[in-house]
């Protein structure tokens, strides 16, 4: 994962001495090629009446030229690539995508996920993303998730009336039929807060049993 290239020795003149610029240049060229390919079946038109592809094509050529210049400049000494952590990036992307597919009913090919609402998607996002750092502790994250989600539910769903799904659709039958949407929302929020408090106080007694996740996680 740490991708710091070795600095090449000065006598090798044609080696890449600025990996950061080289990688940046290649990415720009790839982007330009992609754009030109996507625009290839659209007409450019003339200056007098510009077609849809004219400006994007010019821009893509500009991007490609900048990329070439960057690649050329990477033979001069320059900055190495910085190290990056795959762990952080992975868990954060996973958490956001998890939120996106659970907040509302989602279907992609054979996979179908019922809409679970903020009550599930929120805690899921917090707990999954929490593991982006090696210092993650599950109990802490559960308390945070159960404490913060009801706050957001009340703020966005109750106070601001934004159309955000709150509650798993399949479970609406659990509440008395004559309860309003808002009553269900408030009851769920209250339940989650009680849950957060319970985890907080129960966990205090046997701290020794707690699994410390930090031990397992290596630095990315």
């Amino acid at each position: 994962m740490p991708t710091s290239h070795e600095r090449s020795s000065p006598e090798r003149r044609w080696s890449i001495r600025a990996p950061q610029n080289f990688a940046g240049g290649i990415s720009l060229i790839a982007l330009a090629a992609l754009a030109l390919w996507l625009m290839s079946d659209l007409p450019r038109g003339t200056l007098r009446s510009m077609g849809p592809a004219m400006l994007p094509d010019w821009l893509a050529i500009g991007v490609g030229l900048a990329g070439l210049a960057l690649v050329a400049s990477s033979f001069k000494p320059g900055e190495a690539l910085e190290r990056w952590s795959l762990r952080g990036v992975f868990f954060i992307l996973l958490a956001i995508v998890g939120f996106a597919v659970t907040i509302r009913p989602f279907a992609l090919g054979p996979i179908a996920i019922p809409g679970l609402g903020l009550a599930v998607a929120g805690p899921l996002a917090i707990i999954v993303s929490g593991f982006a750092t090696p210092e993650a502790r599950l109990r802490e994250l559960v308390i945070l998730a159960l404490g913060l989600t009801p706050f957001c539910m009340l703020l966005f769903g109750d106070l601001l009336n934004l159309p955000i799904p709150i509650f798993p659709q399949s479970l609406t039958g659990l509440f008395p039929a004559d309860w309003s949407q808002k009553a269900v929302l408030r009851a769920t929020a209250a339940l989650m807060i009680v849950g957060a408090a319970a985890v907080f106080f129960l966990g205090r007694g046997h701290k020794a049993d707690q699994v410390d996740v930090a031990v397992q996680g290596g630095r990315g």
Binding site: Q20, A23, G24, S27, L31, L38, M39, L42, T46, L47, R48, S49, M50, G51, P52, L55, P56, L59, A60, V63, A66, G67, A69, L70, L81, E82, W84, S85, G88, V89, I92, L93, A95, I96, V97, F99, A100, V101, I103, A121, G122, A125, I126, I127, S129, G130, A132, T133, E135, R137, E140, L141, L144, L148, C152, F156, L160, L162, P163, I164
Partner: protein, 500 residues
């Protein structure tokens, strides 16, 4: 002159209504609350909090958004001073001396002078906007498509010159930004461009989504790399109000910072960013003993903070008079206005005078509120900053996801913040600065539209941009700037300004 006062009194009549006062207060408060979180700058804060203004009337919504903006900015300064993590480019400078003051037990004075300086700068900038607003709107009448296009080119050149690091990379980022803005249905011909056949891309990429990914999510990923290098001041905050000696040392810096910031803020192309850097450099040059800078000099906080706030405010001028957003924050304001059915530009002042002058007056009110709420609440912000980052970032992430989902109720928007977060993270790792890309994206659609119109009017002749005197002048300025920035001697100076 009579107009000036009658307009301002109309504005204050709107801004001082009980509802709008309440909204300004609430905006400042939540803006500071989110902005104080390390790594969350004003752009991410506004994108996150945009949905909470949807239910309001247009005037109230914009007043609240302006409050959120100032709050977020002040919150960023608070974090810079207390924790040495600047939330965005403009508070980098504040962190230099502000954090040193905090280590010497003078955090309170640093926060106090920042608030007082900002308030003074805000007052002056409000007057500048009120005075320049009307004449500049008239200027807009002589602007045709060719002039608009050239002005935006000049703005983008400014952004290149002002970006840190390699000029080549900054140019590439601008081009990528404009290229991204062409994704979606072509307005003129109705043909879909670069949408991969995906229906949610046919409206183009949403600006809030791009901004949130690049400035919210990518920032979280980047902060996770430098694990917990936070440096919270454990010393007492100390007294908040600067004493006579402090005032004597800093009042001139506040005035100079205000002037520098106000002028730079009006420039298209994110000139406001340069304000704090320029002010800091000027203060250091003028100081009797420049060695004090970087070791807790009060002038090094007072000047840049004033410049920052003045620039933040005068950057509304290009938006309100010409309809051109000069930076990413203003682009978010455009988004908010569009949602409420207002098209930003010269016609706002004549068609919605209540909104125009009410917003200007509320800028001053917002600054006053920051002074009133922030100083007594410093203790609360300090406590918030002591929450470890491992608990803070999951919360930031969830706010981002909920915020972006509530704008359009589209799960794909949420996925896209993940994608742009990854893109932003890679950009940072490859040494590209994302800010010019965002500006290119912001101006891209307007540029294409005006380029097309100008070419239709001129029957396909590119010479129109040079033949029309105003357009030629703007392009000449852009060219001179670019050449100057590429000259080796100036380049060295530019690097010095940014590394300081």
């Amino acid at each position: 002159m009579g107009d000036f006062f009658s307009n301002l009194s109309l504005g204050f009549g709107v801004a001082l209504s009980l509802q709008n006062l309440g909204l300004a207060f609430l905006g400042c408060l939540v803006g500071t609350l989110i902005g104080v979180l390390p790594g969350v700058g004003p752009i991410a804060t506004i994108a996150m909090l945009l949905p909470i203004t949807f239910g309001l009337d247009p005037v109230g919504a914009l007043i609240m958004l302006a409050g959120i903006y100032y709050g977020a900015q002040y919150g960023g300064s608070t974090t810079a001073i207390l924790v040495n993590i600047p939330g965005e480019a403009t508070s980098v400078v504040t962190a230099l001396d502000g954090h040193q003051m905090a280590r010497q037990g003078r955090a309170g004075v640093a926060l106090g002078i920042a608030a007082i300086g900002s308030f003074f700068a805000g007052t002056v900038a409000t007057l500048v906007i009120a005075a320049l607003g009307a004449p500049l709107t008239k200027l807009a009448l002589i602007f045709g498509p060719a002039e608009y296009f050239s002005l935006m080119v000049m703005g983008l050149v400014f952004a290149v010159v002002l970006a840190r690091g390699s000029i080549l990379k900054a140019i590439a980022m601008i081009l990528v930004g404009v290229l991204l803005s062409t994704v979606g249905t072509d307005l003129e011909t109705g043909q879909e461009r670069m949408t991969f056949g995906l229906s949610f891309l046919s409206d183009g990429i949403d600006f809030a989504v791009l901004a949130m990914g690049i400035f919210g999510i990518a920032e979280v990923m980047r902060n996770l790399d430098n694990t917990e290098a936070r440096d919270i001041v454990h010393k007492a905050i100390g007294r908040l109000l600067p004493n006579k000696e402090d005032f004597k040392q800093s009042y001139a810096s506040v005035i100079r910072g205000t002037v520098i910031g106000s002028i730079l803020g009006i420039l298209p192309g994110n000139g406001a960013v340069l304000g704090p850097f320029a002010s800091y450099t000027v203060e250091k040059k003028l100081a009797k003993d420049p060695r004090r800078f970087g070791r807790g000099a009060i002038e090094g906080v007072a000047g840049p903070e004033s410049a920052n706030n003045a620039g933040a405010q005068t950057s509304f001028i290009p938006l309100l008079t010409l309809g051109i957003p000069p930076n990413a924050v203003m682009a978010l304001m455009v988004g908010a206005m569009t949602i409420h059915g207002i098209v930003p530009g010269p016609q706002v002042m004549t068609r919605n005078p209540n909104l125009f002058w009410g917003m200007i007056a509320s800028m001053w009110v917002g600054n006053l509120m920051l002074l009133v709420i922030n100083l007594p609440m410093v203790g609360m912000w300090v406590r918030l900053l002591k929450v470890p980052y491992r608990l803070m970032f999951p919360a930031i992430l969830m706010f981002c996801a909920i915020g972006i989902y509530s704008i359009n109720s589209l799960p794909t928007d949420v996925m896209f913040i993940a994608l742009f977060g990854l893109v932003g993270y890679l950009l940072i790792k490859l040494g590209f600065e994302p800010a010019p890309m965002l500006l290119g994206f912001v101006l891209g659609k307007l540029m294409e539209e005006n380029l097309r119109r100008a070419l239709i009017i001129s029957r396909g002749s590119l010479a129109t941009f040079i033949e029309r005197p105003v357009s030629a002048g703007l392009l000449a300025v852009a060219l001179v700037l670019l050449v100057l920035a590429l000259l080796p001697s100036i380049r060295k100076g530019r690097d010095e300004v940014f590394t300081e």
